[in-house]
């Protein structure tokens, strides 16, 4: 199993939101709506949306980073032209969201939201700042490891994925019930790698992270 279960009591919000019935396995139906998915036009996404450091009057505070990788299908084939959306806290660990009460500073030069379409080889690339860790109220002294939220479409609605990318070697991993909800062997798939080939000398550290989408039902395994 790759995906976490719905019910993971260490993550308290799952207790009243996890369905109690297992999902019903659907028959293979080549006409099912879920085997197709939305198509995104190049003109619908501004190339500047991939640079999260560019939206303000000045540069955001924090460690500038490049995050790049490929979106792949279950057979390892790149998925071109698909929408990738990201959002994150700023370098101080604060989201530009009205309900984030963490008493850390907002950064007027950083919203923390970006999006892009993958290129012909399935690649995405964002420029941003490294997000900070932040406290949450799940349990006493609960802190989330630094992460960037990712939303990926793929070619079928069945492939739709929302997940989180983490940074290598974070000492908070072993205390985080959200990361630990993922079965052990699969957790490493959520951790990016520092990559000097992605790093831009004298400018920004680079992290590489590939996303592998699930099988579509009519696809040969």
């Amino acid at each position: 199993m790759t995906h976490p279960p719905y019910l993971h009591p260490d993550y308290a919000s799952t207790v009243l939101r996890a369905p109690s019935h297992p999902p019903l396995a659907m028959d293979k139906d080549p006409e099912a709506a879920e085997l197709t998915g939305p198509v995104f036009g190049r003109s619908e996404v501004d190339p500047l949306d991939a640079d999260l450091t560019s939206g303000g009057a000045g540069e955001p505070i924090g460690e500038r980073i490049v995050v790049t990788g490929r979106i792949l299908d279950a057979s390892g084939r790149p998925v071109p032209g698909t929408l990738v959306e990201i959002w994150q806290a700023n370098a101080a660990g604060r989201y530009a969201h009205e309900r984030d009460r963490h008493p850390a500073p907002l950064d007027l030069n950083f919203t923390g939201a970006g999006r892009c379409l993958t290129d012909d080889e399935g690649r995405y690339r964002f420029v941003t700042v490294k997000p900070g860790a932040y406290p949450w109220r799940n349990h006493h002294n609960a802190w989330r490891p630094a992460h960037i939220h990712f939303s990926v479409f793929g070619t079928a609605f069945t492939q739709r994925l929302v997940t989180q990318m983490y940074f290598p070697g974070d000492p908070l991993f072993s205390f985080d019930p959200i990361l630990k909800s993922v079965p052990g062997a699969a957790r490493a798939r959520l951790v990016s790698a520092l990559d000097l080939a992605v790093t831009e000398p004298e400018w920004a550290l680079g992290y590489r992270w590939d996303v592998v989408l699930g099988h579509t039902p009519m696809e040969e395994a």
Binding site: P4, A96, H97, F157, V182
Partner: protein
């Protein structure tokens, strides 16, 4: 190995919603229908921080993100309001149903279901206990309005699907 899912969390609201996201067709589109309802948790309380995505199965001729102009899009997105409510305006689907995905804080992976507007769900849904099957049927409330609540857990839990 497939990349594991993680929760959308509580703070997607400044990133994922976009102007006109819930409007697959513009106001006044001939034959348009509105799907509305609430997302509820196992205690029957509204879920004010869910994100729903609707997919008709047909990309159409209107942008999935760019909502300017006329036409029909097959994709919509709607974050729930403080009372757990959502809405979509869509063209009548070619199929008997619309595909629906729900993301939320506390959902480590999304739940997916179908909103049946007309007709009786075919196999394997027709083999469900009638009370459970009824959770997939939208209730017509007006000429162009259908109600469909999503109950994540509990006695009237919505039937969720896996492909």
């Amino acid at each position: 190995m497939t990349t594991p899912s993680q929760t959308v969390g509580p703070f997607f609201g400044f990133a994922l919603p976009y102007p006109g996201d819930w409007e697959l067709v513009p106001e006044g589109h001939p034959g348009a229908v509105t799907i509305t309802g609430r997302v509820l948790d196992g205690a029957g309380e509204p879920v004010p921080d869910a994100l729903l995505e609707l997919w008709t199965g047909d990309p159409g001729d209107r942008g999935a993100l760019g909502r300017a102009g006329a036409g029909v899009s097959g994709f919509g997105r709607c974050g729930t309001a403080p009372d757990g409510s959502y809405r979509f305006r869509t063209a009548p689907p070619a199929r008997a149903y619309l595909a629906l995905l729900v993301f939320a804080r506390g959902l480590l992976k999304p739940v997916r279901t179908r909103v049946y507007l007309a007709g009786v769900p075919g196999p394997p849904l027709d083999a469900l206990d009638p009370a459970r099957r009824a959770t997939l049927l939208a209730r017509r409330e007006g000429q162009d309005v259908y109600r469909f609540d999503v109950r994540l857990q509990g006695e009237e839990e919505t039937v969720f699907l896996e492909f």
